[in-house]
């Protein structure tokens, strides 16, 4: 049974996620089969069973429903306890962590009974394993990665946060429990799981970061009020989420407003065949067609004097406008290549296989997808445990609607309650205490956030700053036996279940001890060590540890990602850019792209200045030169579309001088 990852990833971004289908999609994503659990006859109690009891006996607080009766809740708790205990008796090397029970409760409320244990086993062994060893170190490792990612995506926010906390500890619960501890309703957490389960385990870091980025303004306010601890409260609680698209759907009219030249150049540049495994959907819609793609496209643009202010802002520091100068072309392209590089890396590392043309497709109509409506329906009946309906859980409330003109459904509930508890400086109910800070209540009306757009942003973030991004230092933080490295889209590359269980006990191979120097990126001259190399080493480390399959799989994957080797691309990248330059630039863009969570206007403007236009400008000069020197690209646009499969080494020779050509050639090769 093969999983169509791309389709599912797109699907997971839509309102409602997989809807009722998740009951059979999750088991596929987890490679779980309802095997007769014969081997589970081990009845030796697990060392953590006492702790498990302590937690399950106070579980089901948030969902399925706050109104659950006492007896309902008690029987759910018993069922949960039984399920967790069966898992640990079957896999005694794993250790229980507080919060695991929250994850399990989501599975239990979603999946058919006969699949629950099998799914839980796979999830534990191949996703959660890092956290199921003896300590917290692995998740602290992920916090370090999260910190690096925040810094990449929004340096300003990162420095604000660093003033109050060394590591983003507020994200701990989200990383550890896959958001299940804090997400207020079952449909919401199910959708979050839809998103996470069809992505590599590291996706949780991107989602956690996207949430942090979305709360920048609130953080700023608290900073001004000098409320450090409150920042922890703010960021460790989730914003109010609604499983709906952003109010005025900005995307559909965008393509229509995109200039015709874009369309034509897009088709000219679009490779005829990408050599990828068969895609199910005819239009290779990338999982993230909206902002980031357009952002990427627009970013390195060469012409367009009519830039918007905001775009201008983000690009000013890095290059100057004159389009004709060769220098400018050379100057602006590298970043572009880097972005491309990163995408490639995403493919390899995560197996995310974005269609190569994805950033060349501003003219695609991203959201005109057959799926949305279907899913929207699903949404309504989206709970597999039919006891709840979203209408019950998502009462529309006007009072909490802060300024959004559209009627928003709003998830009531414990979240609000919790937010009040943890983020409001409290008025004093107790007799002997008195409110001395009447001023506060800074967060009584937390902004409402669209879950689909949050997920989309997380997904875009992962494309922009893939796990191999040198400044993330992932491979210097997580060890070769972390799920970050052992998970694969290809289930045959997974360690087998027994191996995986044993891996949980090898902390030294899951996460490296903290070495501040290794991760100090302050100078941002990350040229010296790129994460690609270390990533390769990490994989070899796994291999060296006795798993030959892995190495083989790695190679296979490299092959899959077409003609260039990582090293090759990496070389180009090193020559082509100073990492901090694009970092700052992309950082600025992310910053800008994230703040309001809706930016149709900006998109439209940016779209006018697509890279394609720039590419076309270069095309004439570049292809002519290249045609002579490389001798393979025939002519102009035809060459572009044809995909002649140049040997990468050739590019090296001309690279310095012919950056733009190489950039184009990349597409050629695809």
């Amino acid at each position: 049974m093969s999983v169509n990852w791309d389709t599912l990833r797109r699907h997971s971004l839509q309102p409602g996620g997989f809807g009722t289908d998740r009951a059979h999609i999750w088991p596929q994503l987890l490679n779980a089969h309802s095997a007769p659990s014969s081997s589970s006859s081990n009845s030796e109690p697990h060392r953590d069973e006492n702790q498990i009891s302590l937690d399950t006996s106070r579980s089901f607080v948030l969902y399925p429903s706050t109104s659950s009766s006492f007896s309902e809740r008690e029987s759910l708790q018993q069922e949960l306890h039984g399920l967790i205990v069966s898992l640990f008796r079957k896999r005694p090397k794993l250790s229980y962590f507080q919060g695991y029970h929250d994850i399990v409760s989501v599975l239990m409320l979603t999946l058919p009974k006969d699949l629950q244990l099998a799914c839980l086993e796979k999830l534990s062994l191949h996703w959660l394993r890092d956290s199921m060893g003896s300590g917290l170190e692995p998740v602290l490792g992920l916090l370090r990665v999260t910190k690096n990612l925040i810094k990449l995506a929004d340096p300003e926010l990162a420095s604000m946060l660093e003033q109050s906390t060394q590591l983003p500890f507020f994200a701990l619960s989200n990383l550890l429990t896959l958001f299940s501890h804090d997400t207020p309703t079952l449909p919401l957490i199910q959708h979050v799981f839809d998103y996470l389960l069809c992505r590599p385990p590291i996706a949780v870091v991107y989602l956690a970061t996207a949430i942090v980025l979305s709360r920048k303004e609130e953080v700023r306010r608290l900073m001004e009020e000098d409320e450090d601890g409150m920042i922890h409260s703010l960021l460790s609680s989730l914003p109010t989420l609604v499983d709906e698209p952003d109010p005025p759907p900005p995307i559909p009219d965008d393509p229509s407003t995109s200039p015709i030249p874009t369309e034509s150049s897009a088709s000219a540049l679009r490779p005829q065949s990408n050599g990828l495994p068969v895609r199910s959907s005819p239009s290779p819609l990338p999982q993230s067609v909206d902002d980031t793609d357009i952002t990427i496209v627009a970013d390195p643009e060469l012409d367009s004097p009519q830039n918007t202010e905001s775009v201008e802002q983000t690009k000013i520091p890095t290059f100057s406008p004159p389009p004709e100068s060769d220098l400018t072309l050379v100057d602006s392209d590298p970043a572009d290549i880097v972005v491309q590089e990163e995408k490639d890396k995403v493919e390899e590392v995560d197996g995310i296989v974005p269609p190569p043309e994805q950033h060349l497709l501003p003219a695609e109509k991203p959201l005109i997808d057959p799926e949305p409506s279907l899913i929207a329906e699903d949404d309504v009946s989206g709970n597999t445990n039919g006891s709840i309906t979203p209408t019950k859980l998502l009462p529309s409330i006007e009072e909490a609607n802060n300024g959004d003109s559209t009627t928003q459904l709003h998830t009531e509930h414990r979240d609000t309650h919790k937010t009040l508890i943890t983020t409001t400086p409290f008025s004093s109910p107790s007799p002997s205490s008195a409110p001395s800070l009447p001023s506060a209540e800074p967060n009584t009306t937390p902004p409402t956030l669209s879950l689909p757009s949050l997920l989309t942003h997380a997904s875009n973030l992962q494309i922009l700053f893939p796990p191999t991004h040198p400044s993330l230092h992932l491979s210097q933080i997580m060890g070769p036996q972390s799920v970050v490295y052992t998970w694969s889209e290809n289930f045959r590359e997974w360690p087998n279940d027994n191996e995986a269980e044993a891996m949980a006990t090898r902390m030294d191979l899951i996460v490296y001890p903290f070495d501040p120097d290794a991760e100090d990126d302050s100078d941002e001259d990350a040229d010296s060590v790129t994460d690609e190399e270390s990533y390769e080493e990490a994989r070899k480390g796994v291999h060296g540890d006795g798993d030959k399959k892995r190495e083989k799989g790695g190679r296979k994957r490299n092959k899959l990602t077409k003609s260039r080797s990582w090293k090759q691309r990496h070389k180009e990248k090193r020559r082509s850019e100073k990492p901090h330059r694009h970092t700052k630039r992309l950082g600025g863009i992310m910053d800008f792209a994230f703040s309001p969570f809706r930016h149709g206007k900006v998109e439209r403007k940016m779209e006018k200045r697509t890279m394609l236009a720039g590419a076309v400008v270069v095309l004439g000069i570049a292809m002519a030169l290249y045609g002579t020197k490389g001798g393979s690209a025939s002519t102009g646009a035809a060459g572009m579309g044809g995909g002649t499969g140049e040997k990468a080494s050739e590019t090296d020779a001309y690279y310095q001088a012919l950056l733009p050509i190489i950039y184009l050639k990349r597409h050629n090769n695809r």
Partner: protein
């Protein structure tokens, strides 16, 4: 002239002894029969009025109880002015755990930290495993404040925090500079029975200085 103090307080103790419930009662005067486990740590604030002139704002870090979260605790107690170490009077093992926390605080935390040992769940006194005498004796030996509470009924909760506020050196010692932490003044290490003291008004009677 009114004085306002601000202190950092950390809650420590075994899993499920009622740390979060204690804070919830103190801060919101609420109680949930089901209080979900704390992952990592939670932050809350509450202000208590000592007298007409003096208020103390507590910045409270409520930590997770499971052993595996232990390595995070130093972050929260490192600069804490006071700590409430909670045990469950119905679980004698939880007092053992409290002792290890107290030893750690005595070794690692600020030497001036004010520590209160707190036996929670007095509403379940019928299942009591830890006697008052045992806990009180231990507290006296170690120079800790001690009290029993019920987050469920509210019994003793506010009193614990108020007593801590009064005991904090800069509050207790008029010479200390308001607003800052507790760097001034000697460590107060004298056993105090909060339950006895609760009704009285002597805000300085426990001061060493």
């Amino acid at each position: 002239m009114s004085k306002q103090y601000q202190f950092k307080l950390v809650l420590l103790g075994e899993s499920a002894v009622g740390k979060s419930s204690l804070v919830l009662r103190f801060v919101k005067d609420q109680f949930d029969d089901y209080r979900e486990s704390t992952i990592g740590a939670a932050f809350l604030t509450q202000t208590v009025t000592i007298d007409d002139q003096t208020t103390v704002k507590f910045e409270i870090w409520d930590t997770a109880g499971q052993e595996r979260y232990k390595s995070l605790a130093p972050m929260y107690y490192r600069n804490a002015n006071c700590a409430v170490v909670v045990y469950d009077i119905t679980q004698s093992s939880s007092l053992e755990k409290a002792r290890t926390w107290i030893r750690e605080l005595q070794r690692q935390a600020d030497p001036n930290i004010v520590i209160a040992l707190c036996g929670n769940k007095t509403d379940l006194a019928a299942r009591r495993q830890v006697t008052q005498d045992e806990a009180k004796k231990y507290a006296e030996e170690e120079g800790l404040m001690w009290a029993e509470t019920s987050a469920k009924s509210g019994e003793g909760v506010t009193e614990v925090f108020t007593a801590i506020a009064k005991k904090l050196p800069s509050v207790a010692s008029p010479a200390a500079r308001p607003g800052a932490g507790t760097r001034t003044g000697p460590g107060a290490r004298q056993g105090v029975d909060l339950n006895k003291q609760a009704g009285t008004q002597g805000q300085n009677e426990n001061c060493n200085c």
